[in-house]
């Protein structure tokens, strides 16, 4: 931190000013002039919160994607299908048992199993052939999409939000002051906050597992040099299967999350595949903190865009991707 300030004093200043501005925008009661210029504070705060929570969902999908890529150099374009599959499994479980939490567990296990099968049956046979693997995953995603369309139809499914999560809560953030002097607090959907908290926990757990455990050490070593790692006697195939299972399972969990606060239908697989591609390209292929940063940026851009420049909202995320590719093609937080 201090080294960063010493080396780039100008950048540090800009960052500090930006943080201060963001804090002021969030905490202070907006003066009337500002409200006139860019709309009510409630709208702004909601958009920011939505961006962050949406980023949480994107992170869940993209982290699995980037983990698999980082270790195996395998661009798994069937990742979106795993997301949708997890969502459908989650729906089936929550509809039949009524338990929201159970649906996460089952979705995780089943999608992880699919991931294991994919790795054992398909990818292991074409190790090191990046292009071939990528083409196969495209084919698989089409096959999966049609299988799921056949099994579940084109209907929209929503996973029932548990009762204790329905409705908004008041956050201690003042959005406006009534003429009587009484403050108006921000009301925000509880379910989104919970989901965001959960994705932060998962992100932290992954970071800890990667940086503080033995298996994490092996995975990191594998990211750097698979061949040397295998030569030291580590059963690299087992590590591949584990990582694939974890990545797929995370996509499954994300599917349940997405099915809860959005909806599941054919086409969602492609959308989330695209989102996670953009996220990891922005954040840096193979980097978990990169996926977190990328997800946050893309989520915020989508939501702020949809409020302040609705006509061009779709373009914004891709503009960001283009900018990153032009300025820092390896991604914002890539190591190499």
């Amino acid at each position: 931190m201090t080294r960063f300030v010493e080396r780039h004093p100008a950048w540090a200043l800009i960052v500090i000013i930006a943080i201060a501005l963001a804090l002021w925008l969030t905490l202070a009661v907006w003066p009337p002039g500002l409200e006139e210029a860019i709309g009510r504070k409630r709208v702004f705060l909601n958009a920011v919160f939505n961006g962050i929570t949406l980023g949480g969902l994107y992170f869940l999908v993209a982290s699995g994607f980037t983990l698999i890529f980082g270790l195996m150099r395998n661009v798994n374009l069937a990742h979106g299908s795993l997301y949708l599959f997890g969502g459908y499994v989650g729906y089936a479980i929550s509809a039949s048992t009524g338990s929201w939490l159970l649906s996460f567990i089952v979705a995780f296990i089943l999608t992880a199993l699919v991931g294991v099968l994919l790795q054992l049956i398909v990818f292991r046979r074409m190790e090191g052939q990046d292009l071939r693997q990528t083409m196969v995953t495209i084919g698989l995603s089409i096959v999966f999409a049609d299988l799921m369309l056949w099994a579940c139809g084109g209907d929209f499914y929503q996973i029932q939000t548990p009762n204790w999560l329905i409705g908004p809560i008041e956050l201690p953030l003042i959005t406006a002051v009534k003429s009587s002097g009484e403050p108006v607090y921000l009301r925000y959907p509880l379910v989104r906050l919970v989901i965001f908290a959960a994705s932060v926990v998962i992100g932290l757990a992954m970071w800890l597992a990667l940086n503080r455990t033995r298996i994490g050490m092996i995975i990191r070593a594998g990211v750097d040099d698979r061949d040397i790692l295998a030569a030291t006697g580590v059963r690299i195939q087992l590590v591949f299967v584990l990582v694939f299972a974890l990545g797929a399972g995370l996509a499954g969990i994300a599917g349940v999350v997405g099915g809860t606060f959005q909806s599941l239908s054919p086409g969602e697989d492609i959308r989330f595949l695209l989102a996670s591609l953009v996220v990891v390209i922005v954040g840096g292929m193979g980097s978990i903190p990169g996926a977190a940063l990328g997800a946050l940026i893309i989520g915020l851009a989508e939501q702020l865009g949809s409020v302040y420049i609705p006509t061009y909202a779709i373009v914004v995320t891709f503009l960001i991707m283009v900018l990153v590719l032009a300025v820092r093609p390896q991604g914002l937080l890539a190591r190499r």
């Binding site: 084109g154 086409g267 949809s306």
Partner: protein
């Protein structure tokens, strides 16, 4: 020996199948949105189409109709691609296409490049399709989005006493047309539309849109469809929204009212207008509902047909009945058939339909209110039936032309 006999059998079966196609076929291409945001709408449209075939049969004189289906995703280029494939590869002679608004405008323009063929609109409802520079070989037997809103503005103003409303709609031609119809009537009655929000087709996260809804309005009009509508309702419920709602024709429709999950319950009591009402007592409608229900098992259909099923049913009906009138004669660039199509008056399930000079439907419209049938299923209940709605919505054509074409900001909120 074995090889030889297998070859013989193969050869003879070839001859046999050759004999089977000696009976002449008329090829019809059908498109529906079987992918993307409007998948459910496309599927139910195809159910309506199938129901019509069950009722009417596929025979025209001694000819048999053959239907070839192509999928689109509600974007204009996907529709043109599908139609082109049907014409160039499958050699269809008649098209039943397309489903969605922007697709309709694109296919109408494409129809001009094939004046020898006949295009029958399946369900699309943008005004521009038949109002601006219509194609002489493009026929539309359903009303447009503005016609489908007739009656709603007055009902909201006079009976529900709404004075100020805001609208949220998908950003494309059909919803522009719907909002056009609503605003004309509501503002004409004296109401105010304070805010019009447009979201891209296929928006998933509506949370920020919901946060930006104004508080000081009596009702919020929703012009959404398919997955967008379900996502909006889901997130609206999570945000604790409580405003009065009004709905467009594909918002208050079985495609949404029978979606899984409980977000749709926010719609109970919502007023809307459309080319149909689920609980209409008319015997023709009831017969159609019965035919639809009998054609598919309960888990493969909606409790009652959606607007798309009704539209596909009506257009398939026109296609077959007119073809029977000319006894399947498609000679001379289908001239006789086109003439028959322009003149035919069909007794569709949702009321009598005839075409105007632009080959655009004049039909019946319904103002509805969403009710719960007591068992958790939602239906649209008839409030008002308005017959003979034409494309200029009863305005003098010269006055109507001055209003301008439906867009994000047209019409202005005033009395024309």
């Amino acid at each position: 020996m074995l090889k030889c006999s297998v070859g013989l059998i193969a050869l003879s079966s070839l001859f046999l199948s050759g004999a089977a196609i000696a009976q002449e076929k008329i090829k019809v291409g059908v498109t529906a949105t079987l992918e993307g945001t409007y998948t459910v709408l496309g599927e139910d449209g195809m159910r309506g189409h199938q129901t019509a075939l069950n009722v009417l049969g596929k025979k025209v004189g001694d000819k048999e109709l053959e239907f070839i289906v192509a999928s689109t995703d509600a974007t204009p280029d996907s529709a043109v691609r599908a139609v082109r494939k049907l014409i160039e590869q499958d050699k269809v002679q008649i098209l039943l296409s397309p489903l969605s608004g922007d697709e309709g405008i694109a296919v109408k323009n494409f129809a001009k490049t094939h004046p020898e063929l006949t295009f029958i609109n399946a369900a699309s409802g943008a005004q521009e399709t038949t109002y601006v520079d219509p194609a002489p070989n493009f026929f539309r037997y359903n009303m447009d989005g503005a016609q489908w809103q007739v009656g709603l503005g007055k009902y909201a103003y006079e009976d529900k006493k709404y004075r100020k409303i805001a609208t949220v709609g998908e950003d494309y031609s059909f919803i522009y047309t719907q909002v056009f119809g609503l605003v004309l009537e509501f503002c004409g009655a004296g109401g105010q539309v304070t805010n019009r929000q447009w979201v891209p087709l296929g928006t998933k996260d509506f949370a920020s849109v919901i946060a930006a809804l104004p508080d000081d309005v009596d009702a919020i009009y929703l012009g959404l469809g398919g997955a967008d509508a379900v996502n909006f309702l889901n997130q609206y419920q999570q945000a604790g929204g409580k405003a009065h709602l009004m709905g467009g024709s594909i918002m208050i429709d079985q495609t949404i009212l029978s979606s899984k999950g409980n977000a749709k319950n926010a719609l109970v009591g919502t007023i809307a207008a459309s080319g149909q009402a689920d609980t209409w007592e008319d015997p023709g409608w009831q017969k159609f509902v019965k035919a639809y229900q009998d054609a598919f098992p309960p888990n493969k259909r909606f409790p009652s047909p959606s607007l798309l099923a009704t539209n596909y049913y009506g257009s398939t009906m026109a296609l077959i009945l007119a073809l029977r009138e000319v006894n399947g004669d498609l000679s001379n660039n289908q001239a006789k058939y086109k003439e028959a199509l322009a003149k035919i008056e069909i007794d569709a399930p949702n009321g009598k339909i005839k075409l105007d000079a632009n080959r655009q439907a004049i039909g019946t419209n319904f103002v509805t209110e969403v009710v719960d049938d007591g068992k958790g299923a939602l239906f649209s209940k008839v409030v008002k039936v308005i017959p003979n709605v034409n494309q200029t919505l009863g305005y003098d054509p010269a006055v109507f032309a001055k209003i301008g074409l439906p867009s994000r900001t047209v019409p202005e909120c005033k009395k024309y």
